[in-house]
Amino acid sequence: MAEDGEEELVATDDDSEKQGRLNHAIVDQGCTLLRRMEICVAEAEKRNGKNAVNMQEMFTVYLIETRPMDAVAEGRNLSPDSLWRRYSEFELLRSYLVVTYPYIVVPPLPEKRAEFVWHKLSADNMDPDFVERRRVGLENFLLRVACHPVLSNDKILYHFLTEERGWKEVVYETGFQAKAESRLKALSATFRVRNTDKRFVDMKHYSDELQSHTSQLLRARARVADRLYGVYKVHGNYGRVFSEWSAIEREMGDGLQSAGHHMDAFAASIDDILEEEEHYADQLKEYLFYAEALRAVCRKHELTQFELEMASQDLISKKQQREELATGIVRTFSFKGMTNKLFGQEAPEQREARLKLLEEMIAEGEETVKEKTVECEEHVERAWVDMQRFEEQKDKDLREALINYAVMQISMCKKGIQVWGNAKDCFLKM
């Protein structure tokens, strides 16, 4: 049935070829949710509605279609279940996942605003090309999440895909927002932590490099695209001149006219070429954003490690206090020590009470340390597994992306050769 499912998946897949290959690869890895249902983001529509501050605004919604996999496999042509979601809901889903699974490198969403634009590309969020590319990006996000060994089992995810109404309330009810770490706390941990696992230090460093390199690459690519566009379009002027010139020539007229048409075709061809290149750019962008997700996992490690260190530190100091209280020897400076000196020792009953309290606190503290140790170790273990998985996925995906890019370039050159070959024939025949 798995094989049938695979074929079905590839056959009924969305237009993007990349999706087809991604799906194929996903099912190979044996993912859970995607085995049970087929998911796609089919359309995008503009809607009018009220936003958070009760003002009218225009926004885009995306249609999510799902179909049970066994129905697909059996060839039953069920019409898919569908619901509409807007980008902000996707954002909410992702925030929830990030907080709930801090040891997972959570797949990123497509960019909120168009970045790395070059002059012909519009930076407008309502631009149809942008909306289309975002649709593809959102589908990609869902597929990645649905095929993740851990994330795909999440109930909220399932809910997101199947129940249109009331989903937001259910998410808020999980209280995930309370668990979200404050920025300040995380920053503080980063600076003050002492013994981070070396692998995480390296991974964090790598995520910085990945981010900087991909963004540099994307910026340079956008500039190259801009210039290439200029070169191609100027050739259109040849077309115009040849056309006008052919009108005044007798023998050369036909040749010039045809050559002019080829030049026009050449100038026009750049639009499609660069459109295709945008898909390549989007693939790189995904990993640019993945770098942030990777860094988040590393930060979580720093945080858990830091909390463990704090808890241990706290426990040690409490034990010290107990010792001092029990033996009467004051080794470290304490307020109590000072007041004892100034106002005399306290009564034995008070000391007893205090000792008892301390014992309780120490017991609690030991529990806390145990918890934190477990938390930290678990995080490290699980995160390491997912980071390995991520690295494999990254290498594979980017390799494919580069191959596609090369194929694109070859095809572009071949088209160029054809056009110029045709033009040359026209000139030869003149």
Binding site: A220, R223, R227, I248, R250, E251, D395, L428
Partner: protein, 359 residues
Amino acid sequence: MSGHTVPADFSGHMLDLDEDEDLEVFSKKTSTLDGDGNLVPNSPSSLVNQYRLDEEEEEEEEQHANTIDLFITVDNPESHVTAIETFIMYRVLTKTTRSEFDCSEYEVRRRYQDFLWLRSRLEENHPTLIVHPLPEKFVMKSMVERFNDDFIETRRNALDRFLKKISEHPVLSFSEHLQVFLTEPELTSYKKQGPGFLSRMGDTVRGLANSVRGLKSRPDEFTHMQEYVEDFSNKICSLDKVTQRIIREQKEYLDELKQYGPTYTQWAGSEGDLAEPLKGVASCVEHCGKETEEQTQHLSEVLVPVLHEYVLCAETLRGVMRRRDNLQAEFEAKNEALVSRKTDQESTLTLMSLYSPSA
């Protein structure tokens, strides 16, 4: 153009305008060999032939080679320094079997000014013929160094083509000025002779006066010719501009490409398995850059000079058309003067007969 009718549409025969009845139409020759044995085109159709690798062309080649009796090359540019200025001297090599020449081989050194002199002499002595243009003088705005190697090479090439065209011309190649140019070691004494400045002034003044008065009626064929020359001139100028624009855009593209490739290499530095493919892409981008650079250079060095030459040819043609117009205007003016004098004469005679005492 003695009695020879030029067809109204002569786009295919542009270079025939100055043919004489009994001489060969020189434009039939499609190409000649220059000093390096490369094919050099003489006409629009032969621009095409340059890229054709037919055997047929090689045969034509050989046949043609057998009929050249005056073969000139320009090469070996060298810097020449004097107290007052520095300039470039070119070597002009002539091989000939013509009887007018005392020897069969000559070698002289000439500078750009000498070429200017030769051309102005030819134009003066043969105002009805089309004399191939010379490369332009050095213009500051083009921001090219005067003694830049590329500039010198381009100019040398153009000077070579100029002399080759002249040498092939059925009338101009027999000019005594050409002979002097090719054979005399020192040109200075010859340069001082001749009508020179004043006559050229006269030409311009007459030209202005005539344009003010306007032509009575231009024969149709010349009107068509004029229109065609105008249009052609515009088109070839546009082509020249478009090509230069393309070269500029490609250079900017190349600059960005040079920044783009290294981003892949940098990225490869932090990757494991992915490093190889990334470096691969970087080297491909570099390669593409080199090819584009070569192609851009080729455009500058090959296409632009040729287009430029035809821009100048078009200007020369316009000059010739203007001269023809001027001559016609002068002719008309003189005719009018003659007619009015005759009328005067007649009326005077009539008056005299009225007032003379009858015999």
